[in-house]
Symmetry: C2
Subunit: 365 residues, 2 copies
């Protein structure tokens, strides 16, 4: 439900999600005349000098912001994280070795399903017993496996890893960071591969960021269709075929915004502040609002909570939308409410939400 006729709105959708207003204004301004060419960026060759600057800058910003070591390759691919669900096992499989996964919800399950097309998969830990309301602790991956896979943040349940599981030096840790890429500082060399659909934390739908340690690019079986190999894209700096130029351009603008805001260390502070404000409010609502995820697994990005009844939840979602607080409905698989407070959500937006929830409680409890 999206509201008509409201001036200032706050977008709590889980994804595609809110983008910084200032980058949308810049995109609008440049839409008809990109870089003084007289053309729109959407009309310019992906091999032009003008586009190439955007393309290279977007990758450079990723490298700077996450502090990625030189032995990793940054790729901008199409097909969403859903395509990486098969590209990961296809590119990393090793004959005779298992692929190990942690199951923390719907998206982990989808990743596991695709991996099974390529070999033996073990699910070494799962939180399905409590409908995915937590991140399993003491996860133990084998030492002689092809790779270890986790889902960094689980949008549906509002859970997130706060400590990365240990893997032995031989084992690449692979992480789907679609909904928490750049939400906090990470030590990148813990990972072999990370991937992230852009449409939650770093841009619009239509492009997926994939970062792979360079030695892992060599594992792919030779007889693999060209477009399915990471190496194809890595060798050509994601310009083997026509790139989704507009989506990458929007990511570049969004990454510039994150840099301007003080980089990820500062973004992390803001994200922790936003999450703290909202979770504290929920925890101090005398049980009217109740967090869904267990406290030690709570996501910085997706805050899931319930009200005393389903009717009240529906009423709250509706009244929020009438006040310009959009997208607060929880995912159908767990119900309740969800506020997605990605990097582009301001502290002010979270305060407005809390103000509304307070009033709603006073009027309805």
């Amino acid at each position: 439900m999206v509201l008509k006729m409201v001036k200032q709105v706050y977008n709590f959708y889980a994804g595609p999600a809110t983008l910084p207003r200032q980058i949308l204004i810049k995109a609008q301004k440049e839409l008809l005349n990109f870089d003084n060419t007289g053309l729109s960026l959407m009309e310019i060759s992906h091999r032009s000098k003008e586009y190439d600057k955007i393309h290279k800058k977007a990758s450079l910003l990723v490298k700077e912001l996450i502090n990625i070591p030189d032995n990793y390759k940054i790729m901008w691919l199409q097909g969403g994280a859903s395509s990486q669900f098969y590209m990961v096992p296809l590119n990393l499989q090793q004959i005779g070795k298992k692929m190990e996964y942690v199951n923390t919800g719907v998206w982990s399950k989808k990743a596991i399903k695709e991996a099974r097309f390529f070999g033996n998969v073990d699910v070494v830990a799962s939180s399905e017993d409590e409908n995915f309301s937590y991140i399993p602790k003491n996860i133990e991956f084998g030492n002689n496996i092809a790779y270890a896979h986790i889902t960094g943040n689980n949008t549906i349940y509002g859970t997130e890893y706060h400590n990365w599981p240990n893997v032995s030096d031989e084992v690449p840790l692979v992480c789907d960071m679609s909904s928490n890429i750049m939400d906090k500082v990470i030590e990148f060399n813990k990972f072999g591969v990370i991937y992230a659909g852009a449409q939650k934390n770093i841009g619009p739908a239509g492009v997926t960021l994939v970062i792979v340690r360079d030695d892992l690019l060599e594992r792919v079986p030779e007889k693999t269709p060209t477009m399915q190999k990471w190496k194809t894209h890595s060798d050509k700096d994601s310009l083997f075929n026509t790139a989704p130029c507009w989506a990458i351009y929007m990511c570049k603008l969004s990454l510039e915004y994150l840099k301007q805001k003080g980089g990820i260390s500062n973004i992390e502070k803001i994200n922790r502040k936003k999450a703290e404000l909202l979770y504290d409010f929920i925890d101090n609502s005398n049980g009217f609002y109740k967090g869904y995820a267990m406290k030690d697994s709570r996501s910085l990005m997706n805050v899931t909570f319930n009200l005393p009844t389903k009717d009240l939840e529906e009423k709250c979602v509706l009244e929020g939308s009438l006040k310009g607080l959009l997208g607060l409905k929880g995912h159908r698989s767990i119900g309740g409410m969800r506020a997605s407070i990605y990097n582009a959500m301001t502290i002010d937006g979270v305060k407005k939400l809390i103000e509304f929830l307070k009033e709603f409680q006073e009027e309805n409890q």
Copy 2:
């Protein structure tokens, strides 16, 4: 080479290519407030009612404009035509049957290369003997093959099929129409599958139109990764995972423009007029300009031609760009010059180009 400080420019790039000015203006206007939501389309869920209207309308316009029978499914996929090069054989292969291709250039060769990963491929006709300057005649496909594949238009060489080859009723004809989709009226039921990257004739980069006769969706082997099956996307109306919403939105605007211009029958008239003007000028230039493609294979979309020397070609490209006529350099594999005059190029733009070429000839011959 793109010019700075010119007001009116004409974009002859081969792709990503020119878009109708009026749709860019509309996109700019709506960028910050889509459908009165207070949000950008780039921030709205692909499952929202607002986006859904765009998505359905885009497919409906394709169906109307090309006059597609009800037993075909329309899909909006990611990964470019380059991904269809493997998705075609993967989805259409049949054990014990050959896949037959016609080789009309670089893009055909790429398609053939990917098909070989999936079984036996025969190249039944080729124009490689004359560096792809023509479309082979009297093409004969077998009667007991999995499918027959052609490349509808060859951007690099400026060649295009004007008569579709015959296939027996049992054999699906598959056509890569990336650079000539909707350039003329076609009888759709001649085809089993057509696919087209959007970025030449119907939109920006980042989405690929794929249209498949519904009985062919059932051929794919069961043990195929989910995202690689057309059926996955067809069953969910291209919303199995997050769609590239902005690119589809731009396609919708572009398709509305084509409808407004009188539909494809009228677009075909305009395209024939544009091509006729330009080819006639070339043919009547006393040999100063010389068409590359053989006359009966000339493309309506990409007009390739040479000048007496390479130096003159370079000079002509440069001087054109200084006058706001952009992207006239030929592809490196054949050299010379190329004017891409896709659906969004106006007759006026072609006239401006001819005017310039005339002056250039007078000054340089």
